[in-house]
Amino acid sequence: MQHTHTQDTLVGLFVATGIASLFFLGLQVSNLSSFSHGNTYEITARFSNSGGLKVKSAVSAAGVKIGSVKAITFDQKTYESVVKMDIDAQYKTLPDDSSASVYTAGLLGEQYVSLDGGGSDEYLKNGSKIEITNSALVLEKALGQFLFKSAEEKKATPSPTNDKKGKK
């Protein structure tokens, strides 16, 4: 009888550890715990370019995560990217003239939406649209502009360099 009792205990421990590790994987490793069903409201923003933004990317205000991207679709009429975001219901006092920008966390990090508060007395609510948006920075475009600009500057002011060479 004693023997079967220890066996029971060991099997019980084994099953408990197995289920505990499944829970660990679900809650600690994947993002299951950050799901908050029902307690969100949806807002929409239109970007001329949403860059590398993905579904589930973070939406933050002042650096604090307040929601996540729900869907990204392409509007065939205006050629814009329509980003739907779920905002946690506890953050219900965001002004409705807030602006949305797509930023990158770090140099190679993930892209996220940042909401910057405006001055309006009206608040964003379910189904609101954000009017003021800043597109994602495309690195190639920015580099191209920078190179183009510096080339133009060189062209526009060729004399001082020539003068220096001449003096020397």
Partner: protein
Amino acid sequence: MEFFRYLGAGTRESFTKLGRGSFFLISILAGISSVCVRPRLLLKQLHSVGVLSFLIITISGLFVGMVLGLQGFYILSRFGAEETLGVMVATSLVRELGPVVAALLFAGRAGSALTAEIGLMKATEQLSGMEMMAIDPIKRIISPRFLAGFLSMPLLAALFSAVGIIGGQMVGTGLLGVDDGAYWSQMQANLDFRGDIVNGVIKSIVFGFITSWIALFEGYDAIPTAEGVSRATTRTVVNSAFSILGLDFILTALMFGDN
């Protein structure tokens, strides 16, 4: 001509074996209902299949995770992306290494033991003895072992992944100085419950099914001599490894092929 005769005989034999295996599987599954009436039988097998594999799975998981942490850090630090170490360790463990390595260890630790046990029972005519007493050996001996293997495998694979992730964290944040918060938060942001964890569990369920089936069938089908049992045990480990790795490729292509 001789070659074709061998090829034909080989094909015929493998098909008859597959057929016998399928009938065997059907009778195992039919016997599961009678296991539920006697949970004591299942509990005993859960002990010998699951609990006794616990230690090897935990230790292997820990070391695999630690090695992943080391190797991942050296490669990721070249690109200045040490913070994604957690993502790398967790993704490779949860999606692939957890189910596959745990199943391979399970086949070596528990599968071979099952085959040897059943084969020896057959060689010493214990199974025939049971039939003489009008006890169905499949219901009494085989089905509880099958169910125990089938239930243990997902638990062991989840344990392997969880311990591995902790091992990776120990090496990554303890030894190599990766930020602890970044390790976990990047992991949570990039792993999907449905896409990664559930698919890993599905994989381990499939592997548990196939490994238990192969182990029990090889034992039941063994030639009842010392040499026959030894060959059957070898076949269990080899065939399990082949089917685990082959099925893993197919499952991965089905689950993660589109992203």
